[in-house]
Amino acid sequence: MLSEFKMPKEALIPVIGEVTDIRIDTPDVKTFRVVTPDGKKAFDHMPGQCAMLSVPGVGEAMFSITSSPTNTEYMEFSIKKCGCVTDWLHQMEVGQQITIRGPYGNAFPVDTAFAGKDMLFIAGGIGLAPLRSVINYCRHYRDRYGKIDIVYGSRSRADLVDYNEILTEWMTDDGINVHLTIDREEEGWDGHVGFVPNYVKELGFSTDKTAILCGPPIMIKFTLAGLQELGFAKEQVYTTLELRMKCGIGKCGRCNVGSKYVCKDGPVFRCDEIDELPDEY
């Protein structure tokens, strides 16, 4: 054997994560709190980055780390039930050990391009997951950012993820405006009713803001068009792309679009950067 050979660290081998809290957010979204078996945060990350969670024997899947990096105790994941891994995660109980590896991908430029800016966050449904990390990061370093507007919509009130935190923390903060909307009229809901793209246009934001958009592809498409109508340039708007992923480190080829790998060069892109990609995302 080669005496000088040293086995490198392997990114694909995960560590153990223990689920210490499960919160039911909506009929199909739960938020899981994850730490290592000795009660620590598994690794550091920046807002927008993701992690691979897995249930051995069931599979591995990529999720945005929805907690803010400023939370030094644990990580949180808001997960929508939609297949093998996510079904399994939804039926497990507190104390369950799963695997975790990461962090993967780039992050929102919170300390560079976003610094000193007025921020406009726009999310639809589970799209709040990656944004929650940025929002809470901005709230933590409040003096580094200008005014903050949050537009968040979902099908119904029951489908708003993390409604409690929105009501009791975001809405009570100074300098933060939260605009909630649901798709259809509902008894007991006196807030706005209508789709996110239309609501954004109605609200008519001033164009000196930096906007971040996350949600279903169709919502992103129409909201971006709406923002452009309001006079926003694509260079001011950020979003995340979601493609099938396996390795998370730019090697398995699955998330390749043009010369970019979304797992490594993304998931965060500025909308003008997305225009440069071949139309295949």
């Binding site: 054997m1 080669l2 392997e10 369950q96 695997t99 493609l243 390795c247 080829g253």
Partner: protein, 353 residues
Amino acid sequence: MRKCALANKNALLAAMAKTAKLYVPTDGADEKSRDVNSRLAGAYYAEWKDGAELSKKLNTTRSPKDFFFPQTENMMTFKMTGKKLEIFDTRREHENFILFGVKACDVRSFTVLDNVFLTDPVDSYYANRRAHGTIVSMACTKPAGTCFCRTFGIDAADPEGDVVCWEDAEWIYLTAKTEKGEKLMAALADVTEECADDAADAVKTLVNERLDKLPLADLKSDAFGGGKTDTFFNDPAWNELSEACLGCGTCTFVCPTCQCYDIKDFNTGREVIRFRCWDSCMYSDFTMMAHGTNRPNHVQRFRQRFMHKLVYYPENNGGLFSCVGCGRCLSRCPISMNIVKVMKKLGGNKNAE
């Protein structure tokens, strides 16, 4: 440079086999064999046995990428007891081995794979095998009609490798090109003798003359490369080119540079084995997600394979193409589609003369 009489080739290989496990190109077609590979008609790499006949075929049916990036490979195991989980790192240091008779195109394919697997974060499974493998390459004295390595600047007369060999009617000439190669050459001192550094020049000239006459000798690659996405992505020719493709993935599986993989779990009942296996961007479920796939039709999947080899990969790797012109996809595709047809059709008059 050193040489060894062809008559003593067995002794040369025996000396190599003394230093590490030696693999050589061997002819298959042994119908009674229990090893699937050796039942096939083509050549394949098999462990050398004393007195074994080496294949005279130009190249192996499957590329030697298996040695570094096997078709399936176990990565780790898990044990679950109640809510508790254990992770076992099953990696072990790989044994030393030598690949003998690797052709210039396949040697270059290792560089193409290195750029993917050895860049940070390093793929330790690949790095482990790569660190323990020594490549002994062989100049191609009989290149085939499907060869076009020159299109990508690969020199079949003077291949890369740890040790490079040339054969004429009497001698096999050897020279080391790397430190690993020098180590191996030192172990071969007793079965080789010193010769002039230009001893293999006549073979090189012969190979070059034959390369000049190949049917694909004029195929150019300069229309392609990084930054050409817009030039080719929306070319209507993709429709016609992909029309007959079955999406069988044969081209990706025989290709020495295709590197897409899948990660899967297998529950044995006692433990869960996480393994990886080759995958293909030609498959319809490759990019399938809950809200659909970003490449719903086959034109897009077909285009992905060739755009990756000819544009995206070079863009990320200093202009290096992710095709080495080995010709395997030319002879294996059931509908006779291949990268040469794609390059001719798309490159057309965009190639410099």
